[in-house]
């Protein structure tokens, strides 16, 4: 009996403690931990080599990381608003996954190519209502700073981001205006198809551009020369 008990307690500790560590974290601590992890992934010396395959691998790793921080289902729900109910459950899931990919495809490669070891300042966290909170941060650029506000939802014992406000522009509100207009006359299936097409094109362009060694931003080229 006691041996059994011991084993169970040990298993509990091993499996549940790492989760409890992230589950017990407040919204600001969660954001900070996750962003720090993303930054160390960006700075990882393994990826210093400007090899297109490596850059692609880093992209995928960052994407997986991002999926754990964001609540893409809530993001999709809010971005489509009252039209969300027109999606079948399968379409809802597909849409959430595609939306994640669309955002990741555009922004991850931009961050990969433009990251200059910028610092993030975590200012304060506040509660909006039960289970919802806001974390105010600032990204320090070389000669200006950009306020970034995250909105988080407490779900399954973890804080996940459902909206980001950069310089006062809410990501969700911005997509809402576009999806609202698109779905006014068209069906969710068409929107899903359109997004699928866009993502395929972006992925192809990205891989092609990396193969040709063309960075998005010529400044990145300059910095690479300096490193050499």
């Amino acid at each position: 009996m006691s041996v059994h008990r011991c084993l169970i307690v040990w298993l509990l500790a091993v499996f549940l403690l790492p989760m409890a560590a992230s589950a017990g974290m407040g919204p600001m601590k969660t954001i900070q931990t996750r962003i720090d992890a993303a930054i160390s992934l960006l700075k990882d010396p393994r990826y210093k080599d400007p090899d297109p395959d490596l850059a692609e691998k880093q992209h995928q790793e960052l994407f997986e990381h991002v999926q754990d921080i964001f609540d893409f289902r809530t993001i999709s729900m809010l971005a489509t608003g009252r039209n969300w109910r027109r999606f079948t459950p399968e379409q809802q899931k597909e849409f959430a996954d595609l939306f994640a990919k669309l955002l990741a495809n555009t922004y991850i490669s931009k961050v990969q190519e433009n990251f200059r070891n910028e610092q993030v300042v975590y200012d304060e966290e506040s509660i909006i209502s039960e289970g919802r909170s806001e974390v105010r941060t600032r990204v320090l650029l070389s000669n200006s700073e950009v306020p970034v506000i995250y909105r988080l939802r407490h779900i399954q014992n973890e804080w996940r981001i459902y909206d980001v406000q950069i310089e006062g522009i809410s990501l969700v509100q911005n997509y809402r205006s576009q999806f609202e207009e698109y779905l006014f006359r068209r069906e969710p299936a068409e929107l899903i198809q359109q997004m699928q097409g866009r993502i395929t094109k972006l992925e192809k362009d990205r891989i092609q551009r990396r193969k040709e060694g063309k960075p998005l931003d010529p400044d990145a080229e300059e910095d690479m020369l300096k490193l050499l």
Binding site: I8, T74, T106, N143, S170, V172, Q178, Y182
Partner: protein, 250 residues
């Protein structure tokens, strides 16, 4: 017996261990309808979500012209400028233009009754002009008390309670609204660059330098917005309105 007692515990462990790498559906639960109703109402009623766009067809046309202008003229010029000009020089030029526009901000701060901000802005102007070699260096950055939100005449009109009116896309200048368009005219007369030279060509040259230099810091931003959006016209319209709403409220 013992096995049965342990069973729920094992089930518990397995369940949580599996739940950790959560995917979109596994963290979804029953409370969502309630959550959706609460938060959806909030987002639907967010101010500024909607702006009248009676000139949409014309606006979209000008939007396309501006888009072409960006890719064919502004971007190549700014890229070339970025290649031949070291970053500190470009930063210096940007700072100098910003410093020179101080009268616009000070007058608008005063018009909005923000005396403290106007004083700080004036102080910033003198610090940057004297210690920052005529504004080339943003020397005032070390003084947090001088950092106040920038104000323009569009914001002043907004502060006085005048709404956006309708959305407007101007050739070259880009997105604006009826109110902010009037604001642009007002600010034009407060810009020292308006009076620096007699003829229109010299003025256009100054403005072009300012625009090209400013763009050299932001190459790729517009492209990213376009790539990430379904309808860039709507995305930029909404972004502009949200940004201005925040600027007015500050």
């Amino acid at each position: 017996m013992r096995l049965f007692r342990a069973y729920p515990v094992i089930f518990f462990i397995v369940f949580f261990a599996l739940a950790v790498p959560a995917s979109a559906e596994s963290y979804w639960d029953e409370d969502d309808d309630a959550f959706f109703s609460e938060i959806e109402a909030e987002y639907a009623s967010a101010p500024g979500a909607d702006i009248a766009d009676p000139l949409e067809r014309l606006n979209r046309g000008i939007f396309i012209v501006n888009d072409r202008l960006y890719f064919w003229v502004l971007k190549p010029t700014a890229t070339g400028w970025q290649k031949v000009t070291p970053s500190p020089v470009r930063t210096g030029i940007r700072n100098a233009f910003r410093n020179l526009a101080a009268p616009v901000r000070v007058v608008n701060q005063l018009l909005q009754g923000k005396g403290k901000a106007a004083t700080a802005e004036t102080g910033k102007f003198f610090v940057n002009t004297i210690w920052g070699i005529g504004g080339l260096i943003d020397a005032s950055r070390q003084l947090p008390s001088l950092q106040v939100p920038s104000e323009d005449f569009g914001q002043t009109l907004g502060h006085w309670g005048i709404g956006n009116g309708f959305y407007l896309v101007l050739p070259v200048l880009g997105p604006t609204t009826a109110r902010d368009g009037v604001g642009l005219v007002g600010d034009f007369f407060l810009q020292p660059t308006t009076y620096t030279s007699g003829d229109a060509r010299a003025w256009a040259g100054i403005k072009a330098t300012e625009a090209v230099n400013a763009t050299s810091f932001r190459i790729g931003d517009y492209e990213a917005i376009k790539d990430a959006s379904l309808d860039p016209y709507t995305a930029i319209k909404n972004g502009y309105i949200q940004m201005r709403m925040k600027a007015v409220s500050e």
